[in-house]
């Protein structure tokens, strides 16, 4: 990877295939040449702290991206599977992943974090704990005991269903939906539907990885999506 040194911090320039997705800033080294900072001493202080913050986040995203393993032809030929288990084997990168989500949502009055089975169960609870929010598992059929509500969604061939406990989420709750990855967006749409049916407000969907070619973001429509890594 190429690095550009500004004020002794490294800004990692990512290759075009993987780029930063961040709500706060986007690093584009072509638009911020180093010499324009050096020439203006008054701006230096605030720019350097901004760049330092950008560098820090860039380092975290970079480490997270590198920690994800791609497995070809799983679960079937032609699919490039994005394996987050290697991210979980890097305690720094795993912590950074959680921190990036918590930093984004800590002042947004989130009362519910809904995690989609099963990899959403790995990322959701640490975020919920940090935000002081309830954690609600969204599960495959017949796993949750007691009364549930279900939402069906379409797969490539056929349909599937996800379920949520009756009473877990209440009208007026502000919800976050978490999963490891968004592909077509089918599962996330079903999750959003369940949460809205009980009268809660889905503030955002958050995933570690997005596969933009599958247009999940479009399928979510007006529901915002936040991801850390975009993988084409």
């Amino acid at each position: 990877m190429n690095t550009l040194k500004i004020f002794n911090s490294d800004i990692i320039i990512l290759k075009p295939k993987r780029y930063l997705h961040s709500a706060n800033f986007f690093i584009n080294p072509l638009k911020s040449p180093a010499h324009s900072f050096l020439s203006n001493c008054q701006k230096k202080q605030s720019i350097s702290s901004h760049m330092a913050a950008a560098a820090a986040a860039g380092d975290r995203i970079s480490r997270i991206t590198s920690a994800i393993r791609v497995i070809p032809d799983f679960p079937k030929p032609g699919i490039l599977f994005q394996d987050i288990t290697t991210l979980l084997l890097d305690p720094v990168a795993f912590k950074d992943t959680i921190d990036l989500f918590v930093e984004r949502y800590k002042d947004k009055d989130i009362s519910v974090v809904a995690g989609v089975e099963a990899r959403g169960f790995i990322f959701g609870p640490p975020i919920a704990l940090a935000l002081g929010a309830k954690f609600v598992p969204m599960r495959k059929p017949k796993k949750l005991p007691g009364p549930v509500i279900s939402e069906e969604y379409t797969l490539e061939y056929g349909t599937d269903k996800i379920e949520m406990h009756v009473g877990a989420v209440e009208a007026g709750d502000r919800a976050l939906v978490i999963d490891d990855l968004i592909a077509t967006g089918g599962t996330l749409c079903a999750a959003i539907s369940l949460l809205e049916r009980v009268g809660s407000h889905v503030v955002e969907c958050a995933c570690v990885i997005e596969l933009p070619e599958l247009k999940g973001r479009d399928r979510l429509g007006d529901k915002p999506l936040f991801v850390l890594v975009s993988s084409s």
């Binding site: 288990t85 959680i98 099963a118 169960f121 609870p125 954690f135 598992p137 017949k142 949750l144």
Partner: protein, 202 residues
């Protein structure tokens, strides 16, 4: 061992955790009093207490791996792993993990099931904590222990939120200590014992 008998006697957090667990009768089948931890996850304080008690116990034990059993072990394991700076390794049902895996079969009431772990996730000599929401017969946890020992790791302890009283007096599984926060709150303990006896769980 139960937390109450091991330094946490009278700790109000234990009662808060126990009270937050919901019992659902006759799930997944008649006679089973299902211990539902989802209500614990809906109580941020009680969920926080659960994680804190485990973290306090394990933070100075040089544990480098927390292995969580699918799927409810995924809810408790990662927060513990993050707090103690350990890797998190999911132990999954067959064909969920991509790439190279090792498998361990275990016996169910009727038939067998299988637990899988990624090759290379755990190195020989690593110290491991296994986490699940509940231990009943210990079949699943025993399979998890075997998986980890096969790759040369040392399982320090198995930690569960809930432990059936049937395991009382048998606090080791394959020689590995078991640490449990609470017993089930049963409306009908006898009914449950009878059911388990009939099914050969004991």
């Amino acid at each position: 061992m139960f937390a109450e008998e091991n330094g946490l006697h009278g700790d109000p957090r234990i009662k808060a955790i126990s009270d937050a667990i919901r019992v659902v009768p006759h799930f997944p089948k008649p006679g089973i009093m299902f211990q539902d931890i989802t209500t614990l996850l809906l109580d941020p304080k009680a969920f926080r207490y659960t994680v804190d008690i485990f973290v306090d116990r394990y933070r100075d034990k040089n544990i480098s791996v927390v292995a969580g059993v699918e799927a409810r072990g995924f809810m408790f394991g990662p927060p513990i792993a993050l707090a103690i700076g350990a890797k998190f390794v999911p132990l999954r049902k067959p064909r969920k993990l991509p790439g190279e895996v090792i498998s361990e079969a275990y016996v169910l009431e009727y038939g067998t099931d299988c637990l899988e772990m990624h090759v290379g996730a755990v190195q020989p000599g690593e110290s491991v904590l296994i986490v699940d929401d509940l231990v009943a017969t210990g079949g699943t946890l025993s399979a998890a222990i075997r998986l980890l020992e096969r790759v040369g790791a040392e399982v320090v302890e198995c930690a569960c939120v809930i432990g059936l009283p049937l395991v009382k007096g048998n606090w080791r599984l394959n020689g590995v200590p078991l640490y449990v926060l609470v017993e089930p709150r049963l409306d009908d303990l006898n009914m449950m014992l009878e059911q388990h006896l009939d099914d050969g769980y004991i």
